[in-house]
């Protein structure tokens, strides 16, 4: 077949990229080779626009066993235990087919984790939808939630956390990010780097079909009206097969058969084989007629580019083929030796003994393009909102407006569709600041949370980038965990647009600054560009997934008030930053101004002191203050609790609304047994932590002196209505 300009363009390759390919090959590629280049050189696999910026992220720390560059990051949690985790996006497929898109997103990230030898122990997700009244939102929400549940429930891994948000910026481009967390033995981690010559390359798992061909290129292009019409063959998830694949792989990993292992994710057989060879500085040769196929008459092109799910590539030690095959037979899975490692440093593809493609590995990997795309800094907004100019409202009405809004409503409609308890180690389900998962058969536990703040990032990418890291850190602290490391999923618009690229660069700078200060390194992640339609880009939406350690889990800490008459303390200073607050958004539709600043020093001190209080068993409940400010956080502490609170009129009152709805960072609310108050105050004073004693818990009612008096069960009802009516 003649390689025309049109064909090149269809493969998502730019003219100069194609010229570069010809130079690297010393000739024109054939169709199969063109397909392979397009799969490896697209944004999704090559990170060509992001790589230079990602390099800035801090990735080291004594807790880090494996940073970015492998299927998932690995951290040390003491003894011989390691935690393996990563987050990944499945945005475009989920918009086209929400159920299958979300389901296969979960399947993909699980493979990244068990490929490394870890048994997955928790799933989380961050899902962003368009405005609730947009005609597509409801069915997308339904499809995505049941897809996430459908996969995780069936395979039997608890889905324990996440976030569900609505904003019109996602009307035409929803976000579906899935995170998986696994547990492994420290000395039993598996990597993708190939080693040794003439080793068997084994294909295991499901058969290859024509699904998702060019999925990776789809994720690397903007949507247009036609994309929905194009209906690329959607991948259908098969969680049952994945369960078998996971058990079979984990069984095989018990002995020393595996040299290297890699899941077939984006760009399937192509990227997995190239990645293994490139990391090992080897060549790889595949006999494609041996690839197990689901459909008749599949071509090498289709086999190499198919994104059929639930497949893995393994390089085996000599002589282990039979014993390994037995395991896969037991689980009724295909196991076929389809090639071997070579010293050619080339990817050689044979089909019925004829060489169909031959490409130097480095042309696909290290020589893939890297772009230093133009970017510009965001001009900071100078707008300050003066509450005096706004229509007067009552505190109670403003609060109700927030509590009943889609973004703040109780999410149990979502989380009840996920099995959160399977594996019987979920000590704290979603609904709290962070979920807590006990390490099986041990006293210790991890805490996990995912967070994002698109509005903040839109208005100030740098501050926003810092803020999400801190918010995520805070969420782990609030449940008594020591934050260890993060994974990140960077969802942005079109990187060829210099403002978007600026948002990206600045967010990364923010993430970097916060991670460095907090010793909270990045161990894995994913970048998703081209989130937008017809030049309308989504708000910059970096999502942070954090993991923390609870050394000894006795009683999980959560944010529900526990007792009558305990003291309520706010850690951290309330100034009353009201721009970008949800108070202004929900009540006045005002989106202007800068987000609250981050003071990393206070952030760190406040968090570490709280952790100290929790470790000393002085805290009954604790909650970080985020969207909606102090008053919203207090209300949340009364939900699912038999107790309310009585809050004093603020002493150094600036403005009631700023005080109660301001979104100043670095703050927590804690409930302290009255008799422990002196002890707690002493510790906070010694640590030079700013705190305020704001009131005490009481039965049934939520009260602010002279301002507000509501039954907590009414508040709870208000908070629970939206989803059930939607």
């Amino acid at each position: 077949m003649k390689i025309t300009d049109q064909l090149v363009e269809k493969h998502g390759l730019k003219k100069d990229e194609f010229e570069n390919i010809k130079k690297l090959l010393g000739r024109e590629p054939n169709l199969l080779e063109l397909g392979i280049f397009s799969a490896m050189w697209n944004e999704h696999c090559s990170y060509k626009s992001s790589r230079l910026h990602l390099k800035k992220l801090p990735i080291a720390g004594e807790q880090v066993i494996q940073g970015p560059g492998e299927n998932a990051g690995v951290i040390d949690i003491g003894d011989d235990d390691a935690i393996v985790f990563k987050i990944e996006s499945h945005n475009h497929p989920s918009y086209i087919e929400p159920y299958q898109g979300a389901a296969t997103g979960v399947g993909g990230i699980l493979r990244d984790v068990f490929t490394m030898g870890a048994r997955p122990i928790a799933l989380l997700n961050s899902i962003h939808f368009g405005a609730p009244d947009h005609p597509k939102t409801k069915s997308l929400l339904n499809g995505v939630v049941s897809g996430i549940g459908g996969y995780g429930n069936c395979i039997g891994i608890p889905t324990v956390g996440g976030e569900t948000k609505f904003n019109e910026t996602y009307n035409e481009n929803i976000l579906v990010n899935a995170m998986a967390v696994g547990h492994a033995k420290k000395n039993k981690i598996f990597y993708s780097k190939a080693k040794g010559l003439n080793k068997s390359v084994v294909y295991v798992g499901s058969k290859t079909g024509r699904d998702g061909i060019h999925g990776a290129s789809m994720a690397s292009a903007e949507f247009d009206e036609e994309s929905e019409e194009k209906k690329p063959t959607v991948q259908v998830g098969d969680p049952f097969t994945e369960k078998l694949l996971m058990e079979a792989c984990l069984e095989l990993m018990k002995d020393n058969s595996i040299i290297s292992i890699q899941d077939m994710g984006a760009a399937g057989l192509t990227s997995s084989s190239v990645e293994m060879a490139s990391k090992g500085s080897l060549g790889i040769e595949l006999d494609l007629e041996k690839v197990p196929c689901r459909e008749e008459n599949m071509t090498p092109y289709e086999m190499m580019l198919s994104e059929s799910q639930e497949r893995m590539l393994i390089i085996l030690e000599d002589g282990k083929e039979n014993s390994a095959k037995k395991i896969f037979d037991k689980w009724d899975l295909d196991f076929v030796i389809i090639g071997k490692t070579t010293n050619t440093n080339k990817l050689i593809l044979k089909f019925n003994n004829k060489i169909e493609g031959e490409i130097p590995i480095e042309a696909l990997a290290s020589k893939a393009p890297v772009y230093d795309r133009k970017w510009i800094k965001k001009k900071p907004s100078k707008i300050k909102v003066d509450l005096k100019n706004l229509k007067k409202i009552k505190i109670e009405d403003a609060l109700i407006k927030i509590l009943s809004s889609p973004n703040h409503s109780n999410k149990s409609w979502v989380t009840n569709q996920y099995d959160q308890m399977v594996m019987c180690d979920t000590a704290q389900k979603s609904g709290s600041d962070a979920a807590i998962i006990r390490i099986h058969n041990k006293d210790k536990a991890i805490a996990v949370s995912v967070d994002s703040s698109a509005n903040y990032c839109k208005s100030s990418p740098l501050t926003g980038g810092k803020q999400i890291v801190c918010e995520n850190w805070r969420n782990l602290i609030a449940v008594g965990a020591k934050p260890l490391a993060i994974t990140n999923c960077l969802n942005f618009g079109n990187p060829e647009n210099k403002e978007i690229m600026g948002e990206f660069a600045e967010c990364i700078n923010g993430i970097k600054e916060a991670c460095e200060f907090l010793n909270y390194p990045v161990v894995s992640g994913n970048v998703s560009f081209y989130n937008g339609t017809n030049n309308k880009n989504i708000y910059p939406t970096p999502v942070i997934g954090g993991v923390g350690l609870i050394q000894k889990l006795t009683k999980p800490i959560n944010h529900y008030f526990k007792k009558e008459n305990s003291s309520i303390i706010v850690i951290g200073k309330t100034i009353g930053h009201i721009e970008q607050s949800c108070f202004l958004k929900e009540n006045y539709s005002i989106n202007e101004g800068l987000p609250p600043e981050i003071n990393l020093l206070n952030e760190k001190n406040n968090g570490e002191s709280l952790l100290k209080l929790i470790e000393k068993n002085l805290v009954l409940s604790s909650h970080d203050i985020s969207n909606g400010g102090l008053i919203t956080a207090l209300c949340e502490m009364t939900f699912s609790s038999n107790f309310g609170a009585k809050i004093y009129k603020p002493k150094k009152l600036t403005n009631m609304f700023k005080y109660f709805f301001g979104e100043d960072q670095g703050r927590y609310i804690i409930e302290i047994e009255a008799e422990n108050l002196p002890k707690v105050e002493k510790i906070l004073k010694d640590d030079k932590i700013y705190y305020e004693n704001i009131g005490f818990t009481q039965k049934e009612k939520f009260e602010i002196e002279g301002e507000l008096n509501i039954l907590t069960k009414d508040l709870f009802k208000i908070n629970n209505e939206w989803y059930n009516k939607y």
């Binding site: 159920y99 079909g209 699904d211 259908v236 098969d238 049952f240 799910q309």
Partner: protein, 93 residues
């Protein structure tokens, strides 16, 4: 039953069936498992089995073309996932 039949014979009502099947190249995990099971149960000669959905729809409408259009609308709007499924409408009576 008797009553229903009466209604039908008055032809105020039409009955359709809709078959929804997965498109050809789309993976059918259900069919796959069923097929393996049947083979393991010793049923030989089975070449392939694919699973789909079947709907039986009664509609209060006497005009066949109008009714068919309505059924088609239901399929497109709800019953069928056009991205991965095909469908066929049959009139029963």
């Amino acid at each position: 039953m008797a009553k229903q039949f009466q209604l039908n014979s008055k032809k105020n009502k039409l009955k359709f069936s809709v078959t929804v099947t997965l498109k050809e190249d789309v993976l059918d995990p259900q069919g796959k498992v069923v097929q393996n099971t049947l083979v393991n149960m010793g049923i030989n000669n089975l070449k392939s089995i694919r699973q789909g959905k079947h709907f039986e729809i009664d509609i209060n409408e006497k005009e066949l073309t109008v009714a068919k259009k309505k059924i088609d609308e239901m399929c497109r709007k709800l019953l069928v996932n056009l991205i991965i499924e095909d469908y066929k409408i049959n009139i029963i009576k």
